[in-house]
Every structure is written in C-alpha cells, then in structure tokens.
Amino acid sequence: MSALGKVVRSGVARRRVPTIVTGLVVMVAVTSAVLGASLSVASRGPFERAFQQHHGAHLAVRIDPAKATPAQLDATATAAGVAAVAGPFPLATVSAGSGQFRMPPMEVAGRGTPDSAVDELTLTRGRWATGPAEIVLAANGRFNGPLLATGTELTLDNVPGNPVVTVVGFARSITRTADAWAPPDQVTAWQTAQNQNQNQSQNQNQTASQPGYQMLYRLTTAGTQAQVEAANEAIAAALPAGSLTSATSWLAVRRDVVGDTVLLIPFLIAFGLLGIVMAVLIVGNVIAGAVASATRRIGILKALGFTPGQVVRAYVTQALIPAAAGAVLGLGTGYLSTLPVITKTNDLYGTTDRGTAPWIGVLVVAGILAVVALTAWAASARAGRLRTVDALAVGRTPHAGRGRWASRLTSRIPLLSRPVSLGLAYPFTRPMRSAGMIAAIAFGAASVTFAVGLATSLSRIDEVEDIAAVQITAPMEGPRPSRITDPDKVVAAITAQSGTSGYLGTARTEVTTPGATGQLTAMGLTGPDASRYYRMVSGRWLRGPGEIVVATPFLTATGTKVGDQVTLTSEGRDIPVRIVGEAFNIDEDGMQILTDQATLGLTPEIYYITVKDGTDIGTYAAALSTALEPLGAVADTVDHSPPEMLVLIDALTALLTVLLVVVAGLGVLNTVVLETRDRVHDLGVHKALGMTPRQTIAMVIASVVLTGLAGGAAGVAVGVLVQRAVLAAMGRGTGFTLPASVVDAYGPGVVLLLAVGGLVIAVAGALLPAGWAARTRTVTALRTE
C-alpha cells in the first residue's frame, strides 16, 4: 500500500467519532434533501402530470340540446384555441340510494367507452358499463366510501319508475367531469323520462333536470383563467346564442384537487432550502473540525516528507470515504421514505410514477460530496501550508488565553457549583468553534420552529366546513340543495336541540358588479354566530342588510376598498351595498361576496351548526335529523378529516424536522467531542483534584448550555422570520391578505418552548461525549503531557 493510502486508512480508522459523525450527517443530509426535493415535486407536479397523461379536459361545457345541433357542436372543434374535442355526451342528474343509504345527487354522463381524446377515464375497479341498468361511479368522487362496492344495486329516486342500476365499476376522471357514467342511450332515456315528468308537474325547480350535453375540450394554451375564458368565448361564439349554459375550467378543478397543498409549496421550498443549508453547514463544520484537530498530525506527515499536495489528498480522501458511505445509505433511506408519497399521489391523482426522479438523487449526492470535498480541501490546504514547525507546535502551546473574562465571570455567579461554572465558561475559549455549534443548534431550532409554524398556520386556514360540526340540508335538486322550505321552523329545531352552540345559514346566488368580470358568487348569511366562521383582515363584520364583506382579491380586482359603496346586480335588480370589511375567505378564489341574506332576499340552503364542547356530534346529528324530518331536511356531521395529501405532507414534514434536529444534535456531538479531546489533559487534572464522574458530566453539559440557549434563541428568531417571509410570499403569490391569526402562529409559550428546544438539542448532543469524558482514565489523560 502506498504511504498515502496507509495514512488515509489509519486516519479513517483512528478518528472514529468524526468518521462516524461525518457518515451519519451526510446520510441524514442526503435523506432529508431527497425527501425535501421529492416533497416539493410531489406537491406540485402530480395533477399536471396526470392531467397530461390522461388528456384532461381544459374546459367542460354544458350545452342545451334544444338550441344547438350536433353539427354545430362538431364545428366548435375548429374554434380558436381548441386543440381537441370530445362529446357530446348526454347528461342526467340522478338521486340514487341503496336501502336506507341515500347518496347526494350525481351528474351522470353518457359515454360508450372510457377512452377518449379528451378526458380519458381510468378504470380503477370493475369494468365499464356496457349494458342498460349499468353504471360506473367516479373513483375519486365523493362516493368512494366503503359502503359501495361493485355489484351494489342503486335505485334512482328521481327517475320515473325508480329504475335500479348496478354499479359495475369505478373510474377516475382526472378533470372530474362527472360523478358517474352510463351508456349514452341509458342516460338519454333517464333524461327523457325526467323531462316528461317535469312537464307534468311545473312546480319543480327549473335547472334541475334540464336536458344537457357535455362537451369536453383540450385547448392549445390554458395556463391562465383568461386563456380558458377566451377559448370559452370562441366556442360560445361558434354556437347559437344561449346554447352554452355553463362551463367549468380545469383551473378550478386543479384548485379543488390540489387544494391546500398549493399553499404548501412556498413552505416546502423554504424547508428544503433550510435542510440543504443546514446539511452544508454541519457537514462543513464536522469536516473542518476533524481536519483542524489533525493539524499536528499533518505537521508530522510533512516532517516525514509529505508534500502539501499529498496532505490535502490524504485528508480529502479521508473525508470522502465516510461521506460516500453515508450518501449511499442516505439515498436509500431518502428514496424509501419517499415511497409512501409516490404511492399516495398515484392513488390520488392517477399518476403512474414509480419513484423519485433519479436526477434528484444524483444532484443531492453530488452536491453534498462536493461540499465535503471542498471543506476538507480548504481546511487541509490551510493546515498543509502551515510551516511544519508551527503545525507541530499546535496543541502544545496553551491557546492564547481567550475568554478568561468569561471564566472569571462565571466563577463569581453565586449558587453555581464549581463544575457548572467551569463548564459555562468553555464556549468563550474557542469562539469560532462555539459559533459553529450555535449555528448548528440554531438551524435545528429554526427547522422545528418553522415546522410548527407551518402546521399551525395551515391548520388555521380553515373554511366554514372546517369549523362547523353539523350541517343541515334540504333534499338535493339538481347540482345544489333546494331552498329549505320553512327556515323559521328549522331554526326553531336547531335552537331547541340541546348541545347547540350556534348556527349559520347560507344561501348562494350569482351577482355581477362593475369592475369584476363575469358572475360572482354572493353568499347570503344568517344566524347569530356567522362572524365566527370568517377571519377578518380589516374593517368589521356585517351588522345588517346592505353591507358586504369581501376578500382581498375582490378589492384588488374591482379597485375598491373597505368603506366603498358598490352595486350588485342580481337577476336584473341593482342593489347598492357598502363594503364594511375584508375577510380571509379563499372560496371562489377570493371573489366571493358575503352579505346578510336579506340583502339579496335569499333563504338558506344550508345551515352550519357548531355544538357545545363535549357534545357527541353523531348523536346530536341523529337527534336533530329526527326533529327535522317533518320539515324535509336532514342533519349530517361534517367530515373534518384533512385531505390525505395534507396528512402525508404533515407526516413527512415531521420526519424532515426530526432528521434536521438529529443533524443538529450530531453537529453538537462532534463539536463537544473535539472540545473534550482538546481538554482531555485539563479533565485529567480536574479528576486528580477530586472531580467525580458526575461533576465531570455536569461540567461538560454546562459547557453547552449557553450555546444551546443562544442557538435556540437565534433559531427561533430565524424560524419565525422565515415563516413570516414565506407567508408574505404566499400572500403576494395568491393575492390574499392573511389574517393575523394565520400569520401569528406562535404564542409566547410556544416561543419559549421552542427556544428551550435549542437547549435540548445541545444537551442531547453533549450527553455521549460527557459520558466519555467522565470515563476517561485520569492517568492516561495526565500522561498526555
């Protein structure tokens, strides 16, 4: 073996702690970097990719067949901006149920086959519906509960004759164009039957069972709402006036599917960066420390005739060996911990991904190894350039007596035992080393702080449905619930029910207002505790009719501000209203208008109820349902389970945080090991003078208390700043002003706890070396003179 090889081998074998710590740190760093990168890719890409893979529909429109001929529909394929077209597919709205179990109304589209140039469907279970009385349900729809399996027979309540259909399969539409599919003839038959029935009883709601055709389009460009709307207008222009009754943009679907995870992206990017900076910092710290403490050895090597170049090569190799081993392991664990995300996104979005892109791993490993090599190179080049004599002298000459003021100071703090006061002064002897340790702890504390802030902020971005425990609806008519026939009696039932805390009645209608393009949704609200469902950003909550509360995007779009008077136009009627407040309301992209129901003369469609603490929601809902039965309304519990993707991301964020904290702890461990090595002789003297093992441990632990507290404080400050910056970016990106309750994620108690977290990291990292220091044999330590 060459002399160089021998040096490298003995170096790796003898410097066990730095070698192991380097390996571990690199491993954890690679794991968290792969995880972080995969997380941001996973939370961003899957819908778009699946959309591409299955030729999702950029635009789904509903056509009134009475007003447009099939030839005219075909002609829309050449409309400006249209790339591909599918349809017409007949549409019917059916209310289905099985025994006691009733499902909300479904929109069934008639399709002969799942294949299509636009919105290709993927069968997830069973087979396609080919015969009459067969139906395929949407796999990603609302009815994919355990109650339903293939073979279930459903009775269609709102189709004359109450036909029975069999569920033969489940299919996924990436654009969610329908709730179910059946053969076209079948759908047309239901449509016709419903139509005849409706003509006989004119009192039914008009929109519900109007016959419709679905046309699905892929567009050449559909990145923005404006592009989609332009195409929509081109298509409408190609058809007879009024034949295009409604249109759904894929952007709305994407928002729905991706949901809150879009809000997560800035967080994840920041988190990933934090992890990478941290990995770089600690890896650099560990390597530089290991090389620096070998300065004397380097001097010996040079005295033996090694050139500076050989010294550098020896140390770079010595650092790269454990780093490469750690990187390979980290790649493995990183990819493994990413697998559940991949499985879940495949499941949720219909993507067919098999794993994290290899380039992520390559990039991460190459990056980290480059950092290792660079730091080792820089540190050993410095040591290699030292004059041999000086290098040999390192460690022999007592260091220049830095930080003695601190030792004088701590020795005078009353009530501290001497070992503790000795330990407290440690960090001041080597300020650079302590700064590195503070940075390590600070990054650990910052990532915890950030993760806590992320979770808190996101949990506070809640909507009405997240706050209410129970909701009351009337039977569905068409795509939305019908108005509740006797609101007073419903309210009476709600208030009479024991356990009720408050309620909110909502009704939806479309309005227009100058400055905002197209139809806006206005929510007519009623009830004593309406305000608790919305978080105010500025202004005040509604006090009566004639007032509205809107979100920031509305103000931006219409160029208005709180206090302004605006006019809403509803069904041809102009209603002057005043904007009294700005709320954080992400519904309808922030263009929703909140007002008292009396402003628009509406009556509630849905009541949302909050219950008193300790009320069993299931029992409450059942009891209320019984009370409401004569009024033709039902009470259901509101499902509060967060989106699966969010749960998964939360879990991975937690894992990432743990990993970063472990890295910080390892950084501390490494530094304390270097420190105790440097002080091994002093430790021997202390013990010779009667310091017990327990006192030694106390001294070493005390030596990290101040750095731990400083790192904790700095880390919390950094974490909070990053959280604020990310929230600001989020606000700018989405156009919302975030309410204080979302921004201020940290209470004083939490801040204190997080700052103490830095101390915990420091103490945890110091425990092992403290034990080693306590066990060092005094004689051996003293012999190192």
């Binding site: 170096g11 003898r14 007592p398 030792s407 004689v779």
Partner: protein, 263 residues
C-alpha cells in the same frame, strides 16, 4: 497509615510496571521513592492516589481500600485525603492562581468565600500571594510549583504525593521547592516523594525506597545509598526500557492522537 501489600501492576504489554511490592508508610513520615525512569515510581504514586488500580494486591490508606474504590469514590477520597503535586505543575491555564488553588475545595462543595480565605492564607504562607490574580502562564517555574503545592494543600490532605516536584525546575527554583517540602514535613505533613534528585531526597525524606524494574531493591533503608543511582545511569536505563516496550515511540510515529497526547 499507608499499606501496599503484594502489589503488582501489569500493563497490556511488557513486563509489569510494579512487580509484587510491599510498602508501608507511617503518619508523619516523608518517604522518597528513587529509581531510574520507567522503574514504576509514578505507577506506585498513582495507585496510592487512587488514580490507578493494581492488577493484584491491596492498597490501604487510613483504613480505606483504595484499590476497591470506584471512580466517584476515589475522586472523593482524593479530595479529602490526598494532595497531588506533579513535575509539570498541571495548573489550569485558564484559571487564575487563586482559582486554581481554590478548585479542590470548591469541588468538595466549599463556599467560594471560605475557599478564597483559605487560598489567600496558603498563597501567603508559600510566598506567592502577590500573584494570586495572575494566570499561571506568567509565573516562573518555582512559583508555579509553589502554587501547585498550595493547591495540593487546599483541603488539608493527610497525605501529600509529589511526583518529581523539582524535575522541571532550574537549580534555584528547585531549592525553593525543596525548602518548602522540608518545612511542610517539619510541620508534620506526611509526604511521599518521587524524585531523581538525591539532594531533595536527602534533604526532606526520612526514608528512601529504591525501585528498579518494578521491584524494590533490597538496599539500605536510609537515603545515603544513592551513589548507585547516578543520573547518567538513570538516563541509560530509560532509553533501554522505553524503546522495546514501544508504547511511547509508536504513538509518536503514527499517532493521530499525538496532538492530544502532547498537551
């Protein structure tokens, strides 16, 4: 007071550092241990101080079985009964002279004010009180050793152990320390002294024990017999002894932890 019975201390390699020796020291005695480098003198002292344990045999001090003490108990034992003085002083560079002296008392839990008072007394008695706020690095070798003695006496130890206390000092400083130890002995301090320095041995020891290759040489118990251990003889032995066993030489050549060892 001190009783070493059939004590052997064997390291992993080489012949035993101490080979089946028996020593007893009475209170008030000042015993000098003489012998060439590598003969086991420091090992013997370490056993008495509880810093090291014999491979076989017993070490009893004031009725305490020192060889059986655990780490914590032996630290407490040293605090209470032993004062240690080393060849290279072993003062802590980052602590002032008076903080160094106070340390054993403070480790034993004495309040700072009380420790300060006693340290001031000791430093005054040993003639180094004007340095009490200085750092050891500023002091001459003789002054440092007097500070080290003050530190060793801090807890009123029954037994003062000194390992070549003049070994690193020039003649004049050596003389100061010699006088100091003689005075201490005259005041009734029990002392075990390891030295090469025959003058020191004759000046303050009531008795000498000679070690050679870990055995007590059956020479006269009185210190006059020193003629046989000439300084040159000691050096020659050291060279012959250390190199084959190789512990030192090997570490120097390849030892990565040489940096630590050479503090």
């Amino acid at each position: 007071m001190i009783e070493l019975c059939d004590v052997t201390r064997r390291y992993d390699e080489g012949p035993p550092a101490l080979d089946d020796i028996c020593v007893s020291v009475a209170p008030g005695e000042a015993v000098a241990i003489l012998g060439p480098s590598g003969s086991g003198k420091s090992t013997l002292l370490n056993l008495v101080a509880g810093l090291d344990h014999p491979t076989t045999g017993t070490v009893t001090v004031d009725g305490v079985r020192v060889d059986r003490l655990g780490e914590a108990a032996s630290a407490r034992y040293r605090r209470a009964r032993i004062g240690l003085v080393f060849q290279f002083f072993n003062l802590l560079d980052d602590l002032t002279v008076s903080d160094n002296v106070m340390l054993p008392a403070q480790l034993a839990g004495t309040a700072r004010a009380d420790a300060e008072r006693r340290a001031a007394d000791l430093l005054a008695r040993l003639g180094v009180s004007r340095h009490s706020d200085a750092y050891p690095g500023r002091l001459s070798g003789g002054e440092r050793q007097r500070v080290a003695v003050a530190r060793a006496l801090m807890n009123n130890p029954a037994l003062l152990l000194a390992d070549e206390p003049t070994g690193a000092l020039d003649t004049a400083s050596g003389e100061e320390v010699r006088k100091l130890l003689t005075e201490l002995h005259a005041d009734g301090q029990t002392i075990i002294l390891v030295t090469h320095d025959l003058t020191l041995a004759t000046a303050c020891a009531t008795r000498t024990i000679r070690l050679l290759d870990g055995r007590i040489t059956p020479s006269a118990a009185e210190g006059r017999a020193g003629a046989r251990v000439t300084p040159s003889g000691a050096e020659g032995r050291a060279g012959a002894r250390v190199t084959p066993s190789g512990a030192e030489g090997r570490n120097r050549a390849t030892g990565d932890d040489a940096a630590g060892r050479d503090r």
